[in-house]
């Protein structure tokens, strides 16, 4: 996502890096940025205001006369991006003896039902006891779909016969069932609807009033164009939504909707969907996203993905083997299979600082430059070896080599290359693995901190007060409680009307 924006920002800022900075070429650069934002489906007014704000700050004396104005401008863009998308509070508070209710809503086909499953899985993996409610009585096989998903993630689904029930009734009874069964989170899957369909919007409001969900989440397709802000606004006006979940970000959409929704509704994006599988949900971090947009990678997400997808015991075992120089081709195969669980190589590359453009270029070249294809080829080669050969590659002679090549549909020369590379690699790995964990962390941090600080010189000015994290949390909690109270009061008033 966002490649288009990244590239044009890169061009514009790169252009600025070249010559002497003047008000004129900053304005020109920013008008290119605006064009790119519009091509990425950013709302027209948001795009215009965004570039205007940057231009205004960037053409000030303070920036132009500073030592490194281009860095300052990157810093300004970063801050503006973060402000445009954030701040985000991902917390879903659980209260003892009370079922926390989350309600999903959105246009048809945006991804509500799938996201219900993803969110339930995420919460369950974190120790909660979720339950799903099939409140879509409208779309053919919607209940069945949620049931299948519930089965896949081993989360109970409450449903009723659509012929003798109503969405409101299912939700009310669903909460009762959750209480009885000791579940602590209830996720309501509602039917897709148009924001201009008064009758169906009223139905949602009824559920909202009756169940008073702790959070109402709008599920929004990331490929949406200029209409995104319109529907988000309408849903927000009807339901006072607490967050947006942006789905289908695993494609090549430039995701301009993401940059617009918060600006227009004031409601932040909380989660993003990055695949059809039920583990493809991530928390949305405006800072990280801003870094990615600026082409500076996202190591934090990469680490989290690794922690989630990789089998830590297996990894440790492999590490041990590397250190002892016992890392075999079989282990290599296992390591590759682990890597694959983290997602396509190119999407991983995009999270590494500086690699995004390379991955982008690979995208352009299509099939020829697909690192995953190489991985699959190497996999096939190793899989065509016997276990003995994998452990003792020196035994692979010419005839074995030919057999392996034939089995994997490759060339004997390819097998040779693989064996040579593997030999070189194991030496290096042994050295790396020999480093202490601390040393390695330091290395990673070094790369990370350089990459993660695009604000650079701007940072000092914007630094927050030095209050400790505990303090910050309590402030946030308090604010949150106040918001909750206000919301409930509002709703009570609404009902009285």
């Amino acid at each position: 996502m966002f490649e288009g924006i990244t590239n044009s920002l890169g061009d514009a800022l790169g252009g600025l890096r070249g010559g002497r900075l003047t008000e004129g070429n900053i304005r020109e650069g920013m008008s290119k940025v605006r064009q790119a934002l519009l091509e990425a489906d950013v709302n027209y007014d948001i795009a215009t205001e965004f570039t205007d704000r940057i231009t205004e700050q960037a053409t000030g004396d303070k920036v132009l006369k500073s030592l490194k104005p281009e860095e300052q401008i990157v810093g300004i863009v970063y801050q503006e991006l973060v402000q445009l998308m954030g701040p985000v509070d991902h917390e879903i508070t659980l209260r003892r003896g009370e079922v926390t209710v989350l309600m999903m809503c959105g246009l048809q086909g945006s991804g509500k039902t799938t996201t219900c499953g993803k969110l339930a899985k995420m919460l369950r993996d974190e120790g909660a006891k979720p339950m799903l409610v099939a409140a879509d009585l409208q779309r053919p096989a919607a209940i069945e779909q949620l049931k299948v998903i519930g089965q896949q993630i081993d989360v109970p689904v409450y449903s009723e016969d659509p012929a003798s029930s109503s969405p409101l009734q299912v939700c009310v009874n669903g909460r009762k069932a959750a209480n009885q069964q000791g579940r602590d989170i209830l996720i309501l899957d509602t039917a897709g609807r148009l924001h201009i369909d008064d009758e169906l919007m009223r139905e949602l409001e009824q559920i909202d009033n009756k169940l008073m969900p702790h959070q109402v989440l709008l599920v929004c397709d990331a490929m949406t164009g200029q209409d995104a802000v319109k529907s988000a606004k309408a849903f927000n006006e009807a339901l006072e939504i607490d967050g947006v979940i942006l789905t289908k970000l695993d494609g090549d959409t430039r995701g301009g909707a993401a940059l617009s929704v918060k600006g227009v509704t004031g409601v932040p994006i909380k989660y993003i969907g990055v695949g059809e599988q039920l583990d493809r949900l991530e928390r949305f971090h405006p800072e990280r996203m801003a870094q990615r947009i600026l082409g500076q990678g996202d190591l934090a997400t990469l680490m989290e993905t690794a922690a989630r997808a990789l089998d830590s015991e297996e990894m440790e075992l492999q590490q041990q083997k590397m250190m002892e120089g016992k890392f075999t081709l079989d282990d290599f195969l296992k390591a590759m299979q682990q890597m694959k669980k983290m997602g396509p190589m190119k999407s991983l590359m995009k999270m590494i600082p500086g690699m995004g453009q390379i991955a982008g270029a690979m995208d352009e070249m299509g099939d020829e430059m697909d690192p995953d294809k190489d991985v699959r080829r190497v996999e096939a080669m190793i899989q065509s070896m016997t276990l003995d050969e994998r452990q003792n590659p020196e035994r692979i002679d010419r005839s074995r080599r030919n057999r392996i090549a034939q089995g994997s549909g490759t060339d004997p020369a390819d097998i040779n290359d693989l064996l040579k590379q593997f030999k070189g690699m194991s030496g290096m790995m042994q050295k790396m693995a020999g480093m202490s964990v601390k040393d390695r962390m330091r290395e990673i941090q070094k790369v990370g901190s350089e990459a993660m600080d695009p604000a650079g010189p701007m940072r000092r000015e914007k630094q927050r007060s030095k209050r400790g994290p505990a303090d910050k949390n309590s402030v946030r909690d308090k604010r949150k409680q106040e918001r909750q109270r206000a919301k409930q009061a509002r709703k009570k008033n609404k009902r009285r009307k």
Partner: protein, 314 residues
């Protein structure tokens, strides 16, 4: 409700927004200056037609009318005609109101096969049901093949529609090879002497190369079973889609050679303007529009009415 009325009512809310955005921008007697052009540009962008197409129109207006006094009707005529011309194309597609099947390419005799593809949640399965109903009303016998063997309850969804339509359906196991389901679908349709077989496929994002290869394979396998098939490969496009629609049209065409578009969910506030850019750049025509979730909510596309309704006054 007649076709024009229905399309118009589907676009009513659209127009309300659009009117404030675009119609009111050009007031008789004003000068068409940079500021007015900028406002006009904004209005066009809001239809999702894209920066290129909008830019072209604004440039043309600037050249012809820049600095002159605005004659709204004259300007609107130019804009509308340009859009209609683009959407109509060069005679490669027919939309005959008296024959709702006119845009479809059908086999000269015997079975015609329609392959339906698109990104996740675009409206493929629902559009298939609607299209089948359309065909049935024209006296054709239809068979459906549930080629989405991946998504939870996708087969059940299409099966329910088949039940309502009273038409035959061919299904495979969950996670069965979709190409083999497609093959069996064509096979069975030939055997049963059906007029049209419609093949549903799983939603896929056009950047997932393995899934696009799978679609290519489905397309090939259908051709292996019946020469010249599929006769139509329809891309279902969600009308709310922005500029990503271009990438969808191009990559789905690469994989399966799209011959037409079904523009679904045009009953919302989205304008679906990206089809203008798609038609302009890739030549793929819109054949039908979806205006609701029920069986009857499919309409024959009409370039003229689409553009007129988009800019209609009330």
């Amino acid at each position: 409700m007649g076709l024009f009325d229905k399309l118009k009512s589907a676009l009513t809310k659209t127009k309300d927004v659009l009117r404030t955005d675009v119609r009111d921008l050009l007031k008789a007697g004003e000068i068409l200056d940079e500021q007015n052009l900028e406002k006009f540009h904004r209005g066009l962008i809001t239809t999702d037609m894209g920066v290129a197409a909008a830019g072209e129109i604004v440039d043309e207006l600037k050249e012809k009318f820049g600095g002159r006094t605005v004659q709204p009707d004259e300007i609107w005529d130019i804009v509308k005609n340009k859009l209609k011309e683009i959407l109509r194309g060069e005679g490669d597609c027919r939309w005959d109101i008296t024959d709702p099947l006119s845009p479809l390419q059908m086999a000269d005799e015997g079975l015609s096969v329609i392959l339906v593809c698109g990104v996740n949640g675009a409206g493929k399965t629902t559009s298939i049901a609607k299209l089948a109903s359309f065909l049935q009303k024209s006296g054709k016998t239809v068979l459906l093949a549930a080629g989405d063997t991946f998504r939870a309850a996708a087969v059940e969804q299409l099966t329910l529609w088949a039940g309502r339509l009273g038409c035959e359906i061919v299904t495979g196991e969950h996670e069965a090879d979709p190409a083999s389901v497609a093959y069996q679908g064509v096979d069975r349709a030939l055997e049963a002497g059906a007029d049209v077989a419609i093949i549903d496929t799983a939603g896929r994002l056009q950047t997932h190369q393995n899934l696009m290869q799978e679609l290519g394979k489905i397309h090939r396998v259908i051709g292996n079973r019946l020469e010249g098939a599929p006769h139509e490969t329809l891309l279902v496009l969600d009308a709310t889609t922005g500029q990503n629609g271009l990438s969808q049209a191009s990559k789905f065409s690469d994989a399966a050679g799209c011959t037409g578009i079904v523009l679904a969910k045009l009953d919302g506030t989205a304008k679906g303007g990206v089809v203008v850019a798609i038609r302009q750049q890739m030549g793929i025509p819109v054949k039908y529009v979806g205006v609701g979730e029920q069986l009857d909510d499919l309409e024959l596309f009409s370039p003229d009415e689409f553009v007129d309704a988009l800019f209609a006054e009330t």
